[in-house]
């Protein structure tokens, strides 16, 4: 069973809600938006990070966010809407404190992703694309997240939870619900979706040094090479190196 619900009827209830004028965007956020714009030769390049910032502050792409981005960049709200609805990371309804994703592209699906997604739906009591009533969790069916050697893969707030099993998935949710510290397998401790969005907007959270250099699968080949003493070829002497002056230190 493919599991993807094949949707053919699209209604307008899923667009950005332009009647919901709730927002936390104030002078501080606008100043940060201008900072983002200043990073680029053409300010419009800032739109994607600015929308991440909107999400970090408003929990979703808010109407206020759309209007303010449009005004700051001098483009129409239709253009901002066109961008915000093109990319899957932009949520039109509030995401949960923790955004949980399960990859169901072929390798992960075949190796258990489909099962894990169904398990998450049952455990959280929501369907994919929804948020729990208490606002703690939102659930998403993910496409390939570039961790196929760690299949089946789940993500929490875009942090890797590699090589998942049903037990690990249950424990993950239980721990997050209870407020216990949870660590990504190849990342930092889980913060929140909103805080993650802020990092994506270009404002570091200082957690880069948490987590390992690499996960076990990433080291599979290297381990064997170490065992067998295999290395890259040793290059000839520096004088024979093409195109450069001798190394001057």
């Amino acid at each position: 069973m493919s599991g993807h619900e094949f949707v053919a009827a699209f209604d307008d209830a899923s667009g950005i809600d332009s009647h919901d004028d709730q927002t936390n965007i104030g002078e501080q956020t606008i100043a940060e938006m201008r900072q983002i714009m200043a990073r680029y030769p053409e300010p419009r390049s800032a739109l994607l990070p600015m929308l991440h910032l909107v999400q970090s502050v408003d929990g979703r792409i808010s109407d206020a966010g759309v209007q303010i981005c449009a005004e700051l960049l001098g483009i129409s709200t239709a253009q901002v809407n066109g961008v915000a609805t093109f990319y899957t990371m932009y949520k039109r309804r509030p995401a949960g404190k923790h955004h949980v994703g399960v990859c169901t592209t072929t390798v992960c699906a075949v190796m258990g992703g489909d099962v894990l997604l169904d398990q998450m739906k049952e455990k959280l009591g929501i369907d994919e694309g929804e948020t729990t009533p208490d606002g703690m969790f939102s659930l998403e069916r993910l496409e390939c997240n570039a961790a196929c050697d760690f299949a089946p893969v789940m993500m929490v707030n875009w942090e890797f939870m590699d090589s998942m099993t049903p037990e690990k998935a249950n424990a993950l949710i239980d721990n997050l619900q209870a407020g216990r510290e949870v660590h990504s397998t190849r990342g930092a401790h889980i913060t929140s979706w909103a805080e993650a969005e802020r990092v994506l907007a270009g404002f570091p959270d200082g957690l880069a040094d948490e987590g390992p250099t690499a996960g076990p699968a990433s080291l599979a080949g290297l381990q064997i090479a170490r065992e067998k003493g295999w290395t890259a070829p040793v290059p000839p002497s520096p004088a024979a190196v093409d195109g450069g002056k001798p190394n001057e230190r």
Binding site: F6, G82, G112, D209, S218, P233
Partner: protein, 446 residues
């Protein structure tokens, strides 16, 4: 000289604790190549990379040095370098661990490459769904600025270079270079008409080079050790080493850095072979967009020419491996659903073709296929093939046509039998689960 079976180059420091930190990177000789490069003639660097035979590692395999040489230096507009870290092709998982483990390798590569094409602004476009990669890149760039390796007058020269780490927001199509440029400009990520080519009018209508992360990360070693050294690895037309990503039903999935031209038999063996009690059924050489191969092709040399001769594409060297428990109908459907979801919608054949093919494949998976569906799908693929705006559609065409070529009877069985009856899905899952407890969602009522 003979070259080892595995040749850790990019991955050589991945087993070092805190390898991503600048101090550790520098202690291993990091940034020496960059320091040397900014004292060289930029055209000499281009020549060096050309000579090395490095080909783009993002799937297309276009010679990197040649791409750099397309930049018209006389054009008055600023030049830009854009690094494509939008790794999203199913099966591909080499750039993410590389960037997480050793982001400075990329930064150093960015410095050398920018200098070569005379760019003063480089953008590292990373898919948004990999938070920790972005953290590490942000930190690496910040630390490089602090160390004087980025910013004004780097390494004490008069060359200025600014680097921006830019997070995407979830769209596979942004891995296509012109769609990436539109996305980087703050627009919908839809591919652009060519000509003009990015080398002439790319980012902000200015000369731009777009390269894959692994390609740029390979540059420091080439500058440090030379083109001749790089060519000792690989084959005549496919020089160097690369990260082969092995995933699926193997004992040891992971990254295997080996010279181009290694066979999958060798890599599969290193990966421990297929899991105990099972046999290889099929694999993709280079991600889901490449025609599948079977055990008959285990000895194909995995370089650009060898795989092409076998009727497929080397692509991103993403070796998704499936054993006999797996239904090809299921894998084809799931990949086609991926393409349908990721289709940008600009052109008719991809947008409508994927919509149609998904429905046909679903019917087949459910055992509700109709006589002639296989011929129809092949004909639809013929109508799509090579006629869409970009190659995303050619990706699902490749997968569907090759899957039918090698496993036609499975698709035809779908005219009467659901795929999960022929190949119970729980058999391919690594962990046991109680099928009765979990309700696998039925296909939505149409």
């Amino acid at each position: 000289m003979s070259v080892d079976v595995l040749t850790p180059t990019l991955s050589d420091n991945w087993d070092q604790p805190d390898a991503w930190k600048i101090a550790n990177y520098v202690a291993r000789g990091g940034y020496e190549a960059a320091r040397k490069a900014v004292g060289m003639d930029p055209d000499a660097i281009i020549g060096l990379v050309k000579d090395s035979g490095l080909r783009g590692r993002g799937g297309a395999g276009f010679p990197t040095g040649v791409k750099w040489s397309f930049i018209p230096q006389a054009n008055p507009n600023p030049k830009y370098l854009v690094i494509n870290c939008d790794e999203s092709e199913p099966g591909t998982c080499k750039d993410v661990p590389m960037l997480m483990a050793t982001p400075h390798t990329l930064v150093e590569g960015v410095i050398i490459s920018s200098f070569a094409v005379r760019a003063h602004h480089a953008f590292i476009y990373v898919r948004g769904e990999v938070l920790h990669v972005i953290r590490r890149l942000q930190k690496a760039v910040a630390d490089a600025y602090e160390a004087g390796y980025l910013g004004k007058g780097i390494f004490g020269t008069d060359y200025d270079l600014d680097v921006v780490v830019h997070a995407g927001a979830g769209a596979y199509i942004c891995g296509e270079e012109t769609a990436l440029l539109d996305s980087l400009e703050g627009r919908r990520g839809q591919p652009r008409l060519r000509p003009p080519f990015p080398a002439v009018a790319g980012l902000y209508a200015s000369p731009t080079v777009v390269n894959n992360a692994e390609s740029i990360a390979s540059v420091p070693a080439i500058v440090a050790k030379g083109a001749a050294w790089y060519k000792t690895m690989g084959t005549e037309k496919s020089a160097g080493s690369t990260l082969y990503s092995v995933s699926g039903h193997v004992k040891r999935p992971g990254q295997y850095e080996a010279p181009l031209g290694t066979t999958y038999r060798t890599l599969l063996d290193l990966a421990g072979g297929i899991r105990a009690g099972h046999q290889l059924k099929f694999f993709t050489p280079g991600g889901s967009s490449t025609p599948i191969l079977t055990p008959d092709q285990l000895d194909v040399k995995l370089d650009y020419e060898g795989v092409a001769a076998a009727g497929s594409i080397l692509g991103t060297k993403a070796l998704q491996t499936f054993d006999e428990t797996v239904s090809v109908v299921r894998t084809t459907l799931r990949w086609t659903e991926f393409y349908k979801h990721e289709s940008c919608g600009k052109c008719t054949p991809c947008r409508e073709g994927s919509w149609w093919l998904v429905q046909t494949l679903r019917n087949i998976e459910q055992g509700k296929g109709q006589e002639g569906d296989v011929e129809k799908m092949l004909d639809l693929c013929d109508n799509v093939s090579m006629k869409s705006f970009c190659t995303l559609a050619d990706g699902f065409v490749a997968n569907i046509t090759s899957s039918i070529k090698y496993f036609r009877e499975e698709f035809e069985a779908g005219y009467h039998t659901p795929a999960w009856e022929l190949f119970p899905y729980e058999k391919s899952v690594y962990f046991p689960y109680e099928r009765e407890r979990i309700t696998v969602s039925e296909g939505a009522g149409e």
